[in-house]
Point group: C2
Chain length 480, copies 2
Amino acid sequence: MVSVLEELLSAADEAREPLAALSSVTRAEALRRVADTLDAAAGELVPLAHQETNLPKVPRLHAELERTTFQLRLLAETIVEGGHLEVVIDSPDTYWPAGGRPDLRRMMVPVGPVAVFGASNFPFAFSVAGGDTAAALAAGCPVVVKANPGHPLLSDRVAALVSSALSSTGVPRGAFGLVHGIEEGRALVTDSRIKAGAFTGSLAGGRALFDLACARPDPIPFYAEMGSVNPVFVTAPAVVERSEAIAEGYVASFTLGGGQFCTKPGLVFVPEAEAETFESFVAAALAGRVAEPLLNTDIEARYAAALGELRKHPAVRVLVAGDGVAPTLLGCDAADFLASRAELRTECFGPVSMVVRYSTEAELVACARSFTGELAASVHGSLPDRTVERLVALLSDRVGRVLWNGWPTGVSVTYAMQHGGPYPATTSAGHTSVGTTSLRRFLRPVVYQNMPQALLPEELRDGNPLGVPRRMDGVYRPTA
Amino acid sequence: MVSVLEELLSAADEAREPLAALSSVTRAEALRRVADTLDAAAGELVPLAHQETNLPKVPRLHAELERTTFQLRLLAETIVEGGHLEVVIDSPDTYWPAGGRPDLRRMMVPVGPVAVFGASNFPFAFSVAGGDTAAALAAGCPVVVKANPGHPLLSDRVAALVSSALSSTGVPRGAFGLVHGIEEGRALVTDSRIKAGAFTGSLAGGRALFDLACARPDPIPFYAEMGSVNPVFVTAPAVVERSEAIAEGYVASFTLGGGQFCTKPGLVFVPEAEAETFESFVAAALAGRVAEPLLNTDIEARYAAALGELRKHPAVRVLVAGDGVAPTLLGCDAADFLASRAELRTECFGPVSMVVRYSTEAELVACARSFTGELAASVHGSLPDRTVERLVALLSDRVGRVLWNGWPTGVSVTYAMQHGGPYPATTSAGHTSVGTTSLRRFLRPVVYQNMPQALLPEELRDGNPLGVPRRMDGVYRPTA
């Protein structure tokens, strides 16, 4: 008997060539059809998601579904425009230095079947039909999703809708599939037919799958987004000027969605002299907050355990002790933070954050320097300020997104968005899992040398019949 | 006592920020200064290279040095133009779907210090001041080179010239260094200050270093180019039409540089009915060839051993038995090739290649399909021909470069060049080690959210003061 996984893998492998051969316009149509189908099923999907995740239907789950279908449509638009193909064409040139130049035409092509591991905290946007699936399909790669165990029924239902939408647009049957189970996930990432992996979840889970992907006889790229503490640096002028507003923004951001966002600000650095005032504003803002249920009992148990560890740490003060899943505020001193970085820079998935008091600007800079890889970092400051310049430069060398006077939660799906960062935020700092450049993960370059027009993909032919942006002999020509 | 390696690593780490902060114009000037310095030293460097590698001074080593300095100058031009920064700017838009859009400005930034492992067969172009070093420095990353043991004196001399040229242009001292030794190489790739690795060499060597890079507590990308057999597919119409010319091109390509190129055509597939004629043309072309000495006795011994294994294989015929390092021609049947792929698809570094006889077009297609990752593949055909269309499509899904009626040796340094391919050709199919897009390996994206103009890098400021190509709200604007 052939297993479900084996059937999906063999179908994905068979779909590889026909899917890659479909035109961008057809693939875009398929993505739009998936989006329309999911939108039309909102009345069914949102209650199902709520039932399995405890997340509120309005505005959260409705908004998340909208984000998911918008993402599919934006990627559809992107592949029709064609900039993601990174077309570069060199005309033949006998006098080109170092031995001459043949006719060379380069473009990006799909890598092949992709394994996608859905996240618990975004049952739509980072799950079965989420960003990774959308990007892989848009790139022309078949997808096998490993369902997150937190929302199995929703996963099945979304998968059925995606499959039917795709097949109605002529996409080969094997282009999309779904499996459940930890063992199946491991088998997926180690199967030779899978050519790339994408994951959103915990550091432990992401690293384990990354290790499997690298250890294959034929290693594959494994793009794991594994969370972050997203530090926030508040300068003295800023907190003197607007302590209460910063405290309110902070509370809104770290308690958003029950603190179950990978962009939650887990640490905020404030000057010692202003810390007491700031902490009391934070406590006041927290006082009005209602506890939100976490995604499931498993995550609740893990939150309680991680929080317990933090609270026990000798350097940690408990400023506001939330009961159960009610928001908790911790505190510590920068010197202790620097001395105990490994334990105190831990993502604690749930409604907790820590205020770190620094005594000098040098200490603030040392704290910023101590981070090695975060999804986002924020600076709250006032200009002009040399310290702020130093902080922004340091942080841009360490994180994927640097914010000014803002909060890291809320990752817009756009052309410029970067949702990634050096390890341990992700396993691949060179890429993003949100935004239109997320396609790059599932593409690789091919160059054709002296190839006749008839054998070239249309995107590379003379006259640019598809009107894609191209670099010609070193010069960008958006649509020439 | 601090080791040489530790000194270099700590200096590279210190140089990281100042090097990244240099303007592209200053970095370009430094690359050009390195090129000028090396060109000026040709009279000293070429004889030294010849002494250590046996490669002929004229035209080979002089041409290779020219290629090396051209590469430095082309990358200098590339970074000033700025397309490699992949700038994308989104203006704020409250009505953008899924929650609005802040001001987002994305660009590529250097990853940090890079470990470069020099190759034996290109003592200039893929060694101390070769493509990987040039790309990493151009990207703004400090470089620590691990010298290839095949040319230690040349490595030291080139390193001294590079260091002095860089320091004369204000590049921080630690931006470039050189170490020798296998243990030093391992220590380099596992040191937390190194953020990426690049390698050109054997499958065994590249894989071992890749494994170390992946197993770090903080894994890093390791871009290994590990050679290839670069299959050539000759259709019946082509060989009927021009058997002798194809045979002559084949011999010239596989014996070039003593067969010591990673792009050497190791396998050529010809139709059975024409094989005898073709093989006799090949033998005739080989008859006039003089044996070239290999790089060193180590490589000669490895060549003898690998060739001995191939010759012993029951499926292999010896068509022309070259004495010692004189060119050797082997043959086999496609059915045997498909049955013994693992042993017969082995890169054999030296002047040997194998003619594989196929009996049907279906068998030819099956052979093409059997490859999983090659740097290059070539098709010799005549149009129109459906088989050729099929071959080109299949190969573009499996290799980095597809050639028409040409030979894979000779990799021009251009904007469009792709020198890479799926495993086992490289450990990272998404990238190239030759051409201007080779920079991409040493860059990662960062996005600035709602950042004031004064805190943004110049490339991202309003009005585009540096005139770099930018994508604005989804639309390419080459220099607006």
